[in-house]
Symmetry: C2
Subunit: 362 residues, 2 copies
DNA sequence: TAACATTACTAACGCGCGTTAATCAGAGGG
DNA sequence: CCCTCTGATTAACGCGCGTTAGTAATGTTA
């Protein structure tokens, strides 16, 4: 077990004090250091292979240089999430540029009460980003009252926490309007998650709103709640299909869930989009690779990650960000899984935009 | 800015010393504490909302309670990785049970030389797990010479580092044998990544080995290197198709890449498995949801994660694990994307196993 | 009653580093 | 020759906690 190399060792080798070492290695401009001494220190550090100890540094400076990404979801629901890597990729990208780290955590929905506070105090992070927040999360209010920098990836209506999100309601509305524009009037809906998750809630609201604007009656029987993964999408789609209810299209509020729906639809011998049009949400990379390619609402995970990071860092610097919440744009990407009702030729649906406009003007 | 609550505050409120507080909250059995005092301390901690500071604790105890997951890949290649969530899920699962944290990092291939050392010393981790190691990684040897607990998720032949992996070679061989068993003799191959990545290398070796055992000549022209994502799979498959080379099946060493291949095959008007049989690798959740369902080599990300964790923790406890490396089993899951050559009926390929045996006995 | 365990607790040091206040050498001005 | 001022460096404290060696009080035995 080789002895650990401390800044004292570097100081000894360079023939200076530990303070000087610290100043040099941290580029401390407030104190002047002669170029020669600086060089001596740097070369000593290099020959010794010195790396400052993160814990000691964090303790002394009260900064860990880490941020936490907290997922309020059990690990089993994380395993199949194709959107998560995009978020991680975006965060790792910006964090890497600033030599910061990313600490991943999850909290069990239902016992978040104390978790968050413990997380910041007891873990090695300067601030945190909360993924997939839930409306019924009691820890959320506790968080509002602390001075810990927090950014929500998502929205909690009425919360004073800063947040980054897409306009789930409007996006879902656009997606369903797209279907309506294609002539569909019997449209089912499978949510992306349980309704306490705000994104699920809002996307469902968007679905309802689109129906309302088109004067289509809302039928609760046509709505199912999925649970993040394809399996749940399969189950809920089967349930819809077996209900013998009449519908020609389905809005699935998550591409990952939509995959399961695809599979269920195929299994009963129906085809997409001839028998059922499908519109997803998230535009995960696979959306353009599955068959038929999936019409979906594009959400940029990278952008969400970067905006969250920016908001968080400005808070960590002590600034009060100008905007409480950032809303990012979405874009409906029409592909082959949705087409005009009744059509049987092979072409896609190019009349989309015109119809969409009419929907908005209704 | 409310003052931070320290163990001294708890001690004061409880009317005991800070040492006692530490003993109580850490369940220190070596020293006896009366139940009454313990209770006093605990309630004081609760009323104050005390959470021990992680950095201070880490500094004093020389344990951060975090492990690092290091990915040697640029963020852009992380974004579409459907296997990563499985690993994360598994790790978060076991880590959560032991109230440990997961620090995510990535290092740019090409400049890993110093990165690893810096990571452990300078970051807040007790040990690390390295994902997707590369043969040409100069940092690997540096790691071997340190006493930092490291576990490789993957294999570096000849390395003294502990590792967890599946037998990529044998698994790939099985996959290709499966195709050979179905009568295919012209079999193309698209790797999962560039060949310096050991998994890519070994899977390609398995492909070659299977051909050799079946006395099929190896044709380098039928091999393409992909790059983790569907896009690269698409590109390479297009390249194969446009080469006008003759082949009836393709072994794609990653399901994610295979998705791109699917798309390319469809695009030129061919169908799977009628014209081309496809076998993937990883058995990501989506494999059973795409059309046609994808024959693939099942690899349990959860199991890999758990085994890596176990190996790592035993090393962190100072034990020398009995086994240098753990090899986990894989299982070929035959689905609809592969079938006997020339068949045109709708049934799947039930004769697989018999053929497989003959392949192994050749 | 003295000698000795045993139990219950605490004083004090050190982990490695950031940072403030202080020191020191030398330059320049009177 | 003394004094001030600037530039270069350091002594020393504190971050919050784990932990060892030690003290004080209470039984326990001869």
């Amino acid at each position: 077990m080789s002895k650990r190399i401390t800044s004292q060792d570097v100081a000894d080798l360079a023939g200076v004090s530990r303070t000087t070492v610290s100043f040099v290695l941290n580029n401390e401009k407030r104190f002047s250091i002669s170029p020669e001494t600086a060089e001596k220190v740097r070369s000593a550090a290099k020959t010794l292979g010195y790396y400052p100890n993160a814990s000691a540094r964090a303790l002394a400076s009260n900064q860990t240089k880490n941020i936490g990404l907290i997922i309020s979801r059990a690990p089993q629901y994380i395993a199949t999430d194709p959107f998560l890597p995009q978020i991680l990729s975006g965060l790792l990208d910006v964090l890497g540029q600033n030599s910061q780290g990313l600490l991943l955590e999850w909290v069990e929905p239902g016992q978040q009460l104390e978790s968050y506070l413990e997380l910041t105090r007891a873990h090695h992070i300067d601030g945190m980003i909360l993924m997939t927040p839930r409306l019924d999360d009691p820890g959320m209010k506790a968080l509002e009252e602390t001075d810990i920098p927090v950014v929500l990836m998502g929205t909690i209506p009425g919360s004073t926490l800063h947040s980054v999100d897409v306009d789930n309601l409007a996006a879902a509305e656009t997606a369903v309007c797209h279907l309506i524009g294609l002539g569909h009037t019997k449209i089912a809906c499978i949510t992306n998650a349980a309704l306490p998750y705000t994104s699920a809630n809002q996307r469902l609201a968007g679905y309802k709103s689109a129906l309302e604007k088109a004067n289509i009656a809302y039928d609760p029987q046509l709505v199912r709640e999925a649970d993040f993964d394809p399996q749940s999408g399969y189950t809920q789609m089967r349930s819809l299909l077996e209900s013998k209810l009449d519908f020609s299209a389905v809005f699935v509020a998550s591409d990952n869930v939509a995959l399961g729906a695809y599979s269920a639809i195929r299994e009963v011998g129906l085809s997409i989009p001839e028998d059922i049009s499908v519109v997803g949400f998230d535009d995960i990379p696979l959306a353009s690779y599955i068959n038929p390619t999936l019409t979906s609402v594009a959400v940029s995970g990278h952008e969400i990650a970067v905006e969250s990071y920016n908001l968080l860092t400005s808070m960590m610097r002590g600034e009060e960000p100008e905007s409480l919440s950032v809303t990012l744009p979405t874009r409906l990407i029409a592909r082959r899984s949705s087409r005009e009702i009744g059509r049987s030729d092979k072409r896609g649906s190019e009349t989309k935009s015109a119809k969409l406009v009419s929907c908005f003007n209704n």
